[in-house]
């Protein structure tokens, strides 16, 4: 296992290098100029020239890139043009909100998708299978930005049971410690803040998780369908086990491997999906930060956020690989 881990970690270096080069080139190639976006409407040529010098934009592109690489190797993505603070610090303040949102999305998606998928797969062509398949298709084909607006209209507008946006109501949460509102509120035993957080996170988490829900449901269903024909399932039935036990103990547990793979892959999609959902719900996470950075052409911040997402994606895949061994004892590295 250690040798495998080292091999995998070494393999991530070229991936990160390639991504950094691509992001750096693409953001610099995109039309637009950070000095013109950030210095206000009344700026003049002299101001622009000074800002370019200050931000190092007057140097050749390859010099800028190598400077960035050297600094990034030491864990420094430079200073944000817009915030005038180290990029790492800016991302750190916003990342907990995105992680919290992503975790709730996964919880919603898995809690609904796995039982529905197992149920649908164990009773093919039944009404529950048709319902599950329809739900899956609905989840996959629903654009998250549209669903987000519809949820606001329905749950906040017509039913008026949830807040329209934001991460918390002013004046309820206690002092921030970790940046994770739920965790902080639980630590402080601030139950109104816990409830407040849950009411705020539900809509964005649902909007973000519905796509994952659809995919997970379909993958679980097909995995269950496949496992249902295995000999050990027939044996379990022949032994006289109740159908419930057969399905949940023998079929579902063996159908989990592809499901875990998809959860891993979809985590990356969740991160990218959060960019839109966070913007619609004014959720102050790294996704909305990326939009702000892109609009301002804040090169260091854009690169920093994308690199953070890339590293998160690589780390998630490593963890998923590790989980295979836990779920399937036959797998050894």
């Amino acid at each position: 296992m250690p040798a495998y881990l080292i091999r995998r970690l070494a393999g991530t270096v070229p991936v990160l290098l390639l991504i950094s080069l691509l992001v750096f080139l693409l953001i610099h190639a995109a039309p637009g100029d950070p000095t013109l976006m950030l210095l206000g409407e009344e700026t003049n040529t002299a101001e622009v020239a000074r800002a370019k010098e200050r931000w190092g934009l007057d140097r050749p592109l390859h010099v800028q890139y190598f400077k960035f690489l050297v600094a990034a190797a030491g864990g420094d993505f430079g200073k944000s043009f817009k915030y005038a603070e180290p990029v790492i610090g800016v991302i750190k303040t916003r990342l907990p909100a995105t992680i919290e949102l992503a975790v709730f999305s996964i919880i919603i998606a898995t809690l609904l998708a796995i039982p529905l998928g197992v149920w649908a797969g164990s009773k093919p062509n039944s009404w529950i299978d048709n319902l599950g398949t329809t739900c899956g298709l609905f989840g996959i084909s629903m654009p998250s930005f549209w669903l987000a607006i519809m949820l606001i209209l329905l749950l906040a507008g017509v039913l008026n049971i949830l807040p329209t946006s934001g991460r918390s109501t002013y004046g309820i949460a206690g002092p921030e410690r970790t940046g994770f509102y739920l965790f902080d509120s639980l630590l402080q035993r601030n139950w109104p803040a816990v409830w407040d957080m849950l009411t705020h996170v539900f809509m964005p988490a649902l909007a973000l998780g519905v796509n994952m829900l659809g995919i997970l449901m379909r993958v679980t269903r097909s995995a269950v369908l496949e496992v249902m024909n295995e000999e050990y399932v027939v044996t379990a039935r022949a032994k006289g086990l109740a159908e419930k036990n057969v399905v949940w103990r023998h079929v579902a547990s063996n159908a989990l491997i592809p499901v875990i793979t998809v959860v891993g892959l979809e985590l990356g999609t969740l991160l990218s999906g959060s960019i839109i959902v966070e913007t619609v719900f004014a959720w102050p996470g790294s996704g909305s930060l990326l939009i702000t950075a892109l609009n301002a052409r804040d090169y260091p911040l854009v690169t920093g956020v994308v690199m953070t997402y890339t590293m998160a994606f690589v780390a998630i895949n490593l963890i998923i690989d590790g989980l295979y061994a836990v779920v399937d004892p036959r797998i050894r590295y």
């Binding site: 995109a30 039309p31 637009g32 100029d33 013109l36 976006m37 950030l38 210095l39 206000g40 409407e41 009344e42 700026t43 003049n44 040529t45 101001e47 200050r54 817009k82 915030y83 005038a84 603070e85 303040t93 916003r94 607006i149 606001i152 209209l153 906040a156 507008g157 008026n160 807040p163 329209t164 946006s165 934001g166 991460r167 109501t169 002013y170 004046g171 309820i172 139950w191 109104p192 803040a193 409830w195 407040d196 009411t199 913007t279 619609v280 719900f281 004014a282 102050p284 909305s288 930060l289 702000t292 892109l294 609009n295 301002a296 052409r297």
Partner: protein, 509 residues
Amino acid sequence: MNPRHQPTLVALLAALALLAGPTANTHAQTRVSVGVTETIETHNPYGDSVSLLYGIWSEITGPFCTYSYSKGDFEGRLAERWKVENPTTWIFSLSKNYKFNDGSPVTAADVVHSIMTRVIKDPQSKQKASVAPSIVNVEAIDKFTVRVITDKPTAPLLSLLCDRLIVTSKAAFDKYGREAADKEHMMGGGPYRLKELIPGQRLVIAKRPDHPVAKKNPRAPDEVVYRVMRETEQRVTALLNDEVQIAQFIPPHLRQRVEKSPNLKITPVDSVEIMFLAMQPKPPFDKKEVRQAVCHAINRDQIVATLLEGFASRLDGPLGPGQYGYDPNLKPKMNYDPERAKKLLAQAGYPNGVDVELQTPVGRYTLDKQLTEAMIPMLNAAGFRARLLTPEWATLWASVQKGTIPFYYMGRGSVQDPSATLHQYFHTGETPRIGYSNPKLDELLDKEQQEFDPKKRRQYLSQAMSILTEDAPACFMWRHKLLWGLNNRVEYQPLPDARIYAIDMKVRR
């Protein structure tokens, strides 16, 4: 019900009530929440250059002085009064009643520090060009008097300083350093103090009841929460749900949803943002007749009446009523006249029409794409072969600033005094946005900037604007009426720019 279950039920209901607590109205004091469209991203008051934030920070720290739209003139606040010592030297006398949160007075040293250290010299400042483009030195004459020196006569200096100059504490800066002073020890001399700022989510200010300005309006809210809400649906829904009591910029097509509620109303206000079509003097727009043909081809009245449902005021020149230097008798007026447009095109050497590409931002201004889409058939009817392009805003704006777009629809905000705008877009060599050059216009614009007699300055401005309208490097279209959604519990007259002053609000208790 089984009596044994009653205590359980009571406990359950109590727990539910506790959990549901936050959704109930627990305001001990008056609080107004405002849904705003701009993002609030940094603790550094000098780190952004947008109207909304100038207003909020000005309220926390002053403001230095303010423009009264009702009076059409500037009014003193922290700077009680001012005089022009000579064309490049202004003297500002500070009020002795303005005190920072810690009780120390706001002095001339703080003003010098704010302009010289924070606005001009600090590399993190994004406000130098907007607040102090011509200021070369600021010095304290005594504890409450400041001398401001400019590199050239700057008659419109007040329009740059009022509602924009943010005066922060020099002592806090020296003691804690820039970052800690801004984040943890924000000192201001205004009627409100900063209470909470969560970047990207909200900013909260709390009233200082002992402040001389706050005492004048005891019904001003004790707390104001500015919530970032970029989506229009979100702002409207939040207003209907009483999550916010004021919502900025309701689009005309959503106003009926607000008006249906008996607790809400829509308040329209003429924006000071002027909308125009800019034309670079490159073929075919190098010919005045072509530019004039564009202006005569667009039926502004029809667009205002239909697409904008009347929520805009037609412009017959760069300015409208309420803006400094507005001249109702300005001539010529570029009325809708497609036949004349055709003749002008023929005169310019294009009897069979000419290809043009109009570029517009999408979603930046009210119905920008729809309005420009309506202009295309009008241009075509006058003999142009027009095509609409819709680049992303950052791309369009960078290209406009570099002068590489020949024909575009654009807005220019914060035009209380038109001097900066006219120089920026039309003075030779100032910026390449239009690339227009006219020595006569340059002379008039230079004169108005150096003329401290308001009557003469207005005359110069009027002459300059007449040349612009006739020579048509831009067709001036309209000023939008901005629609604000207001809860009836709050009395507030929105301002024509995007500034919001909580001290002007009145809450019904």
